[in-house]
Assembly symmetry: C2
Homo-oligomer: 100 residues x 2
């Protein structure tokens, strides 16, 4: 199980307006091959947003990251930070992670 952590400077809409703007995109993302879930993140104070993703395998993650980075850039978003991690499942289980 692999975790993809993405964040970037973001000056767009948040909250309910963000839901209206991105509901179709979210629906599309939910169907991505190998995706277990995405948590959508936003911070109006620091003007940042991003996502925490869990993927079944590295190939699916890397294909998604490449496609999604290009999509974000097409929205005018720059300085996209992405990090890939393995999940330590045993420790995460102890700390109540709902991923099993």
């Amino acid at each position: 199980m692999l975790l993809l952590q993405i964040d970037f400077p973001y000056n767009g809409v948040v909250g309910k307006e963000m839901v209206e703007a991105f509901a179709d995109l979210a629906s599309s993302i939910s169907k991505e091959k190998g995706l277990i879930f995405k948590i959508w993140t936003e911070n109006e104070d620091t003007k940042e947003a991003g996502g925490i993703y869990l993927f079944e395998d590295l190939l699916s993650l890397e294909r998604y990251l490449k496609m999604h980075t290009a999509r974000l850039q097409s929205f005018g978003i720059r300085d996209i930070r992405s990090k890939v991690f393995e999940v330590n499942e045993a420790l995460s289980k102890i700390t109540k992670a709902p991923i099993f």
Copy 2:
């Protein structure tokens, strides 16, 4: 619901050895006030580790972040990057996040 994203350079043990080294710490973290869950992250190639946390409220998150940062520093860990986000629950629900 608030998300805390932490990562840092890490040269210590990973995988099963990490579980043995940190099981007691994980058990302690699982009892932190306001914590919903923590996902433990590690990357042996990039020599990084971290955690993705969900908290019920900002006060609990800030208290934990202050305490945990000091604890990581006491382990000799430096360059700790932390970011706080709100979770967009409606969009996360569409992308199958198991947080509801």
